[in-house]
């Protein structure tokens, strides 16, 4: 897979792929000065609006700009139709799985997924056992990372079932997405809600790397952006502190981790969170999105079983395939991985954000040796995948337009209905040849367009 040239989404050889016909003319006609002027304009706007993210553990500027590439990525309507069906199917299966494992655990009884992968999982939340959230939905915003290696070859790289970020970097869907999210949240009102539900966004605060996104969503949806200290529990409900006294909250879209939701339930030593929140939740006084414990489904060890979930719960064949994955917990797989380490990508089971991973072909010998030692020490903590030749799209670089590797993160909303905005976020590795698209590791973003028929 590594030998051939990666799939270029705009050109096949010398031939222009049809979805890019309009852009080809645009890019050709644009004088270089105009382009660099526009790029500066875009950066100045990002800076002024404050579309920033912070990189943890590096010091430096806490308000770093997300690099934005003006050259959009384009899907034809037919390409998108197939992707969309696959994404909906997967989001549905992941939610069915979560509702199942906190209820009767049929999939575990049937032996399709080893029970220990679920019950011994750090993200498994015993407090949720036996509780069914409104509409049976655990993960309300499912981000599914997809890579492409050929015209019809799409693979799911990983699932994000907790609180995937990045929606604020989408430009094309800037207005549609928040409207859909609002509709989804409103459809999830708890049992005891009377009248129109009041939703809020719960943020860790303005020091959080995704704070811009939290405030963007609150603003676009017209809901309050609250911190834990703004909330309190009294009687059977959750309230916010306002200038006019307490007001009831029905739906909480939280952008904080499970562990910081309720010190009475999760971390008695924590000063953070809202004491008593989980009691109100379990008695139907408030809805928490995503539900605590939803993280079990996006674990990389569980990932291997998602195609099985689709078959088990939906009785369908998965439309989107997984990337072939070696589970280092298995002795045979581990042996294979150690032997081929320099060709593989190795990831931590619970890792995210591109941290703690090894890209074999780009690693030095010392890095490889160090990583092999880590693998032997704790094999169950790792999975490995082939180094995929991610597709490329044209990207503006210092030296002009050049192909760069991209992936795709669409956001699927699950409430009364399953909703999906066309496109999603395309992440791009800005360094030539690099395959790491995470913004914390030198990646940028592009807009994603889906053509009408």
């Amino acid at each position: 897979m590594t030998g051939e040239a990666p799939f270029n989404e705009m050109y096949q050889g010398d031939a222009l792929r049809p979805p890019y016909a309009g852009l080809d003319v645009w890019a050709r006609d644009m004088p270089a000065e105009l382009r660099s002027m526009k790029q500066h304009e875009a950066e100045a706007l990002f800076r002024r609006i404050g579309i920033t993210f912070a990189v943890y553990g590096e010091g430096g500027d806490p308000d770093r700009l997300i690099p934005f590439d003006m050259f959009p990525r384009v899907f034809s309507a037919a390409e998108w139709r197939r992707l969309e069906r696959g994404i909906r199917q997967r989001a549905q299966a992941l939610n069915a799985f979560l509702a199942d494992i906190y209820a009767r655990g049929e999939i575990l009884r049937a032996g399709v997924i080893p029970a220990h992968l679920v019950h011994c999982n750090e993200a498994y939340e015993p407090a949720m056992a036996g509780f069914m959230p409104p509409r049976g939905v655990y993960s309300h915003i499912v981000g599914i990372d997809i890579v492409r290696t050929g015209p019809d070859d799409f693979f799911v790289l990983e699932d994000n079932c907790r609180t995937p970020s990045g929606v604020s970097y989408m430009l094309e869907n800037r207005e549609t997405y928040p409207a859909l999210l609002k509709r989804t949240l409103d459809s999830l009102a708890p049992e005891k809600c009377e009248g129109a539900p009041r939703a809020v966004i719960l943020t860790p605060g303005h020091f959080n790397s995704a704070y811009y996104e939290h405030s963007f969503l609150a603003d676009m949806m017209g809901v309050e952006l609250v911190e834990a200290a703004d909330l309190f529990v009294e009687g059977d409900f959750v309230w916010i502190r306002t200038t006019e006294g307490p007001q009831r909250v029905d739906v909480i879209y939280r952008r904080i981790d499970d562990a910081f939701l309720d010190p009475l339930c999760f971390r008695p030593d924590s000063m953070l969170g809202v004491a008593g929140l989980m009691n109100v939740y379990r008695s139907g006084g408030v809805t928490i999105c995503s539900a605590p414990g939803a993280g079990v489904a996006d674990d990389k060890a569980i990932y291997c079983f998602v195609p099985e979930m689709v078959r088990f719960y939906l009785g369908e064949e998965p439309i989107l395939a997984n990337v072939p994955t070696w589970q280092c917990a298995k002795a045979d797989d581990l042996a294979h991985v150690l032997e081929h380490l320099s060709e593989l990508v190795v990831k931590e089971v619970h890792g995210s954000g591109g941290y703690g991973m090894l890209v074999g072909p780009q690693a030095t010998r010392t890095q490889l040796e160090d990583f092999a030692a880590k693998l032997r020490a704790d094999p169950a903590n790792y999975i490995a995948q082939p180094t995929l030749a991610l597709s490329t799209t044209p990207t503006f670089t210092e030296a002009g337009i050049a192909p760069r590797h991209v992936d795709l993160r669409p956001y699927c909303l699950v409430g009364e209905r399953i909703e999906l905005v066309p496109g999603g976020l395309t992440r791009v590795a800005l360094k030539a040849g690099s395959l790491v698209v995470n913004s914390s590791q030198g990646g940028g973003v592009k807009d994603t367009w889906v053509l009408a028929e």
Partner: protein
């Protein structure tokens, strides 16, 4: 509105106003330092400025001698001095960032631009920055922030909290500037009414951009009575304590109307307003200017305290 949102809006109001007050204080100091002959010489002038900013002890501990360059650093750039212009601008922007959804684009833009320009200035070599560049920048920037709020914000409770913070801070800073002038700059009564005295009063008016306005309102000779009247009791004067208290009362009344219930904050502000509306400048001098101003500063702090408890703490029921 979330109490925390209200609190941050209120503090944007206060911080922005305080940034301007400190920039203007610096300007007063610089202008006064140009005349050599006051008692105690230039040191006295700068000392007065530090006292007015409420940071004299802090300054002495960190820098020692009040040399102009150090005072500029202290009052303008030093983030460790919580009332320096830079600290106020940074805090106002931080307050804004926390409550972005309650701000208009233009208001956020103005706060964010101020923060970026401030950083840029802090990186600039000091020999290339004159004091007037710095103070002019601060005054312009604050005008821009205020203008953005005035021109673009809905006239709702968010606007009220922003203005309540601003009005309290402005009343307080006028009281402090006046107090310093009378109590510290001129300890010897014999100076009162002398040419030198007049010059100093004039610099205060000029630093407040009120010299011409004063001329139009009173004409003729500058006397302490006229100045005190202008800066405390004259409704036409934009920085008079009475004017700020009127603004304060107005916004507290609007809040109470909008929320459909009267508040203790409203009562406290009204009582203060009633006293100032009745007062005459002779009464002020009978009580003693310093005594009167100290009482005002305390009364304003008391109102701020009630506002805090009523609206900003989240304890309202």
């Amino acid at each position: 509105m979330l109490s925390r949102t209200a609190a941050n809006l209120y503090w944007i109001g206060r911080n922005v106003e305080r940034a301007e007050a400190n920039a203007r204080l610096l300007e007063v100091g610089a202008r006064n330092a140009l005349i050599p002959n006051t008692s105690g010489g230039f040191r006295n002038e700068w000392d007065a400025v530090l006292r007015a900013s409420g940071t004299a002890a802090d300054f002495a501990q960190r820098y020692g001698e009040p040399v102009q360059r150090n005072i500029e650093t202290h009052l303008f750039f030093d983030l460790k001095n919580s009332s320096s212009v830079a600290a106020c601008v940074e805090r106002a922007r931080e307050n804004g960032r926390i409550v972005r959804t309650a701000l208009t684009r233009q208001l956020w833009d103005a706060l964010n631009t101020a923060h970026q320009e401030m950083r840029e200035m802090a990186r600039t070599e000091r020999s290339r920055l004159s004091l007037s560049d710095m103070t002019d920048w601060a005054i312009h920037t604050v005008a821009q922030i205020r203008g953005a709020a005035l021109a673009t914000m809905l006239r709702n409770d968010a606007y009220d909290f922003l203005n309540i913070g601003g009005a309290l801070e402005r009343a307080d800073s006028t009281a402090r500037i006046l107090d310093v002038k009378y109590f510290v700059l001129l300890p010897h009564l014999s100076f009162v009414g002398s040419g030198l005295d007049n010059y100093q009063w004039r610099t205060i008016l000029r630093a407040l951009s009120l010299e011409r306005a004063f001329g139009w309102a009173y004409g003729g000779e500058i006397t302490p009575q006229k100045i005190a009247d202008f800066l405390i009791l004259n409704r036409q004067s934009p920085r008079a304590i009475l004017t700020s208290v009127e603004t304060l009362t107005h916004h507290l009344d609007r809040l109470a109307r909008g929320y459909g219930r009267s508040s203790p904050a409203q009562e406290a502000a009204r009582a203060l307003h009633a006293e100032l509306a009745e007062a005459r400048v002779e009464h002020v001098f009978e009580e003693g200017l310093h005594e009167f101003l100290s009482r005002m500063i305390n009364a304003l702090a008391a109102v701020a305290d009630v506002v805090q408890r009523t609206y900003l703490s989240g304890e309202a029921r």
